[in-house]
Symmetry: C2
Subunit: 270 residues, 2 copies
């Protein structure tokens, strides 16, 4: 606030330290992670984070520099429709962070320029862009999922599962990307068939099979969303594949995809 910038502005963050920490964790080194305190905007005691086989990084500026982007095996960008994004943020900040709805909405408006300048442009660096939309029935736990899958990672072929009707799943093939829509009211049998095909390609990771994919917990209630389950499994697919490739001495699927791109003159021109 002193510098008249919002938390979305890179200068409001220790981007250099964030970048350093991402690189350290990806090299298997520990970090001392700063802890921001929402209650007063200061830092509390930092926490020691040991390197793990998998590191999930959530945040707003994770793909800000090329150095940072190079640390990820899988890059996911959540691009919600504005209305849903505002509603979710209001819900979280009024229930968990003690703000009023008006405060949250005013803050969102104030952040809008920084969001447009720094957050949104990161979308183009993602391997997967994930969107959720409310369907016609308005069920908040059965949202339509829309996925943009880019060729920056080799994507599993889901075309055998395209539905004949407008329900279920549709795929739109582009030049170096494909757009997949999974209806919130997809038949559970069709979703299970798609998930089975992805697990089949994850035959080396069958011990990771989980019944919890697609679960949405709200307090003690457990809802299940099949479209969310497929999205989560696709993310798991890329994480497990990257881990396996590196364990076998490979450079990882991203490097393979780039090498393939470089060999294909048609793609280089585009």
């Amino acid at each position: 606030a002193e510098h008249d910038i919002t938390p979305l502005h890179p200068e409001c963050n220790y981007i250099d330290i964030l970048s350093q920490h991402l690189a350290l964790l990806s090299k298997g080194e520990p970090i001392l992670k700063p802890v921001y305190q929402h209650k007063d905007g200061t830092f509390g005691p930092p926490v020691h984070v040991s390197p793990n086989p998998f590191t999930v990084v959530e945040g707003l500026l994770g793909y800000h520099t090329e150095e940072m982007r190079d640390c990820y095996d899988v890059r996911v960008f959540l691009a919600l429709p504005e209305e849903l994004r505002r509603r979710w943020k209001v819900q979280r900040d009024t229930s968990k962070r003690g703000y009023t709805e008006d405060q949250v909405l005013a803050d969102l408006d104030k952040r809008e320029p920084d969001s447009a300048q720094f957050i949104c442009p990161q979308e183009r660096h993602a391997d997967m862009v994930v969107t959720f939309k409310e369907g016609d029935n308005g069920d908040p736990y059965a949202l339509d999922a829309e996925l943009l899958l880019r060729d920056s990672l080799p994507q599993p072929d889901l075309s055998p599962f395209i539905g004949k009707s407008d329900r279920g799943m549709t795929i739109e093939e582009g030049d170096s990307e494909r757009r997949i829509c999974i209806a919130g009211d997809i038949e559970s049998e069709q979703a299970a068939e798609i998930e089975e095909a992805i697990w089949d390609k994850l035959h080396f990771a069958s011990h990771l099979r989980s019944e919890n994919l697609g679960e949405v917990r709200v307090g003690d209630e457990v809802h299940r969303s099949d479209s969310l389950g497929v999205v989560q499994l696709l993310i798991l697919y890329h994480m497990a594949t990257a881990k396996a490739a590196v364990a076998l001495g490979g450079a990882g699927p991203r490097a393979e995809a780039e090498a393939e791109d470089a060999e294909d003159p048609a793609k280089m021109e585009s």
Copy 2:
């Protein structure tokens, strides 16, 4: 010879040390490997062997005890028809070890009882039993390959590639195993299609793709056997899958297959 036993007899080998060395290598520890000298039957200077991401163990008594068998992620047993086995051994020992054909054949006869008692019974512990047979055309570089694939490891489904004619590939499904025959004169296109399907399941290991599978080098000559190539790729499939599963924190495909077996009461009864 002093004990009137052949090299095939366990007491003619330091089985305890062999077992210890297998366990050490599988745990990532180095060993000091003894080196047997064919010229006089004594040991030469031992060699230091560092643990590697993959260890290939070739030998006669590798599956002798349960402790030893537990060290392998993939167990392959080469069970040649007697005539081919004798011919290959004569070729090797007369060209590389300085014996006459009569000496080799006499030695084979002398070893026969120990072979039957100690070597052959190990076959039942293999995940893959590999046999080669000469086809009708007598081409020594295009042998028919016969594979017994057991359910002790989850096997990739090759049934979509069964040929309609008696050439190519046939599969015979058993209760807990399947027998696959790959003709020595299989069309290269069909072999390539089978290999492509296996590589598709090895999508996380595409950096291991090699043009050398199926090559038979005799001096400066390079022959290519498509049936051998498919066999080698199946072995690679299991090695890469086991490595990937362990890297992802799993116990490995063998443990998964055993757990599945234990859950299936129909299989427990058999």
